[in-house]
Symmetry: C2
Subunit: 336 residues, 2 copies
């Protein structure tokens, strides 16, 4: 990630502070996740366990836990709701990997690669249902409204993404609408729930939504640039996945806009016609770097991360706040 190394000076931000603060809570969330993914149908916990144990960062449940504590919440309900958020995320991952026919996630075989598409679709449905069962047991219609709405928006975002795939006429605004819906909406909902648990006024709910939403956009921007820059081992997913799928992400849009006619012919052939030849991915990476599309995407990610941090202004300067600000910085500047 040469382009990134050049613009970075300070030590890379991390989730460590947040993970340290929330360690006990996070252990309880992980135990609840394992408990609630059980089923007499053995394949379900087997397949769900594969993806749940797959080394995810648990960023979304950490936002629920951290925001709840930032809002002064001292009860136990945040544990189950954080697990519900992670189940929604896991269900969408399972379905995404089927939709993208992905074979690797975080350096491991995907569930669909191991067990086939059929159980991956159905176990996704199971986890999605379990998520709602957890919310129903919690009993807050407000939380149910937030997360059922978020789930619908995520699905809309995924369908929108299908429609921009292979389409070099996609605008930056359309790209942003896709990543806001498919990724940032769940970060926003996960954060907003903290204010609901803390019974904070609407303005603070809105502030946490804005925090999660901007953090989520930063997160997805970095995800999209890593596809053109990181080393496979470091990233834990296959570099070039998006390119091979013909996904139109910001690095591609920027390189396309800044490229010459020859380059545009290349992008159209590779992305729109999916006519890809040996050396094409290397050329794509070279073009994206040469036109500063990586640096520019990273700069935008940092703007969103900064907006996320600013959204926390109404909250007192607690350790939780500092850790959430660091998590936002991490979302906008990470190498995995």
């Amino acid at each position: 990630m040469a382009g990134v190394e050049q613009v970075r000076a300070a030590p890379r931000p991390s989730l460590d502070a947040l993970a340290r603060l929330l360690r006990g809570d996070l252990d309880r969330v992980n135990r609840l996740i394992v408990e609630r993914m059980q089923s007499p149908v053995a394949l379900i916990p087997q397949l769900a366990g594969h993806i749940v144990a797959g080394g995810g960062k648990r960023l979304r449940p950490m936002l629920t836990l951290g925001c709840a504590r930032l809002c002064g919440y001292r009860g136990d309900r945040h544990i189950a709701l954080a697990a519900a958020v992670e189940f929604i995320h896991t269900a969408t991952l399972l379905h995404d990997d089927v939709v993208d026919a992905s074979e690797l996630r975080r350096g491991r075989d995907t569930a669909n690669a191991v067990w086939g598409n059929k159980p991956a679709v159905l176990v996704g449905d199971f986890l999605f249902s379990r998520s709602f069962e957890l919310m129903v047991a919690d009993g807050s219609l407000r939380v149910l409204a937030i997360l059922s709405r978020a789930s619908a928006v995520i699905a809309e975002g995924e369908v929108m993404q299908l429609m921009t795939t292979g389409n070099m006429a996609t605008t930056e605004a359309e790209y942003l609408a896709v990543i806001e819906a498919k990724t940032a909406e769940l970060f926003a909902a996960a954060s907003r729930i903290g204010a609901v648990l803390g019974e904070r006024p609407p303005a603070e709910e809105e502030a946490l939504d804005r925090f999660g939403r901007n953090l989520g956009i930063a997160f997805q921007l970095v995800d999209d640039l890593l596809d053109y820059s990181a080393h496979e081992a470091e990233l834990g997913k296959s570099v070039g996945d998006d390119f091979r799928d013909g996904k139109v992400t910001l690095p591609v849009l920027l390189a396309f806009a800044r490229g010459n006619d020859d380059e545009r012919v290349f992008w159209r052939r590779a992305i729109e016609e999916l006519d890809q030849r040996p050396g094409d991915l290397e050329r794509a990476i070279e073009l994206v770097e040469r036109h500063g599309a990586i640096t520019e995407t990273l700069a935008r990610a940092r703007l969103y991360a900064a907006a996320a941090a600013r959204a926390l202004a109404p909250f007192p300067d607690l350790p939780e706040k500092r850790a959430l600000v660091a998590a936002a910085a991490f979302a906008g500047d990470r190498s995995f």
Copy 2:
């Protein structure tokens, strides 16, 4: 359906009485379904509209509407909850057709055949989310608990079905567990909601659950026998779909148990190894008929339909009750 014709004397039962009683309500449900499947993402209403308009019988929402009225409910909430039930059903149909790689449903191309698997998976997720949004707007945690639990059980049933597919060692008990979970659970939940709306005592809730559950088992038994007996045009789905998928249904289990060694070799080759040759489906249909497996499956379906009718004993003899009894008889004796 020669076997069936022989054992039947009275005119075929139908859903007409129920449909007549509920006509106004059902129109409102259909309008709400169309309204709530809208999205700014055009492909979503397009694809959802294809399956929603595909000539489904709306049997599950009719059970919610009919049971609510049987329980003396006179408000409006049953409309939204019936739509929520139908959305769950539609979402599972979309995912089923992807899982089974089906190309025809009710005589029309499946959504996955027209648009591909990707949007079919994602629009299923969207409709599932919409279903929960409808329930959340209704505001009953009791209904949410019933339907989120049912959704998880349905997914478990579908995964169980994957594990019995291609396995001639499947027992009748395992087969029954599969169809109870994948099909009857939603019929049970749809019916039970009627008692919740009518604020009836637990015993009546249980009675309606039993009604829907038995009706659902009868419905699936007939579905499974039609795959070996009906004409494609009449049935509106491809005869032999289950056979080609290697699904182990009751007609197959009965014919296998009653067959000689040669026949068992045939079933193992066709179902377990999926090594199917020209004439195999015809042979399967012939074996299933010759061993009385169609007649026996139909007889069992009628037993479940009768149990469904008996479950309504605690309720007064209203037109709704008579129409629901007729619906149960229809589930156990239909040709489409």
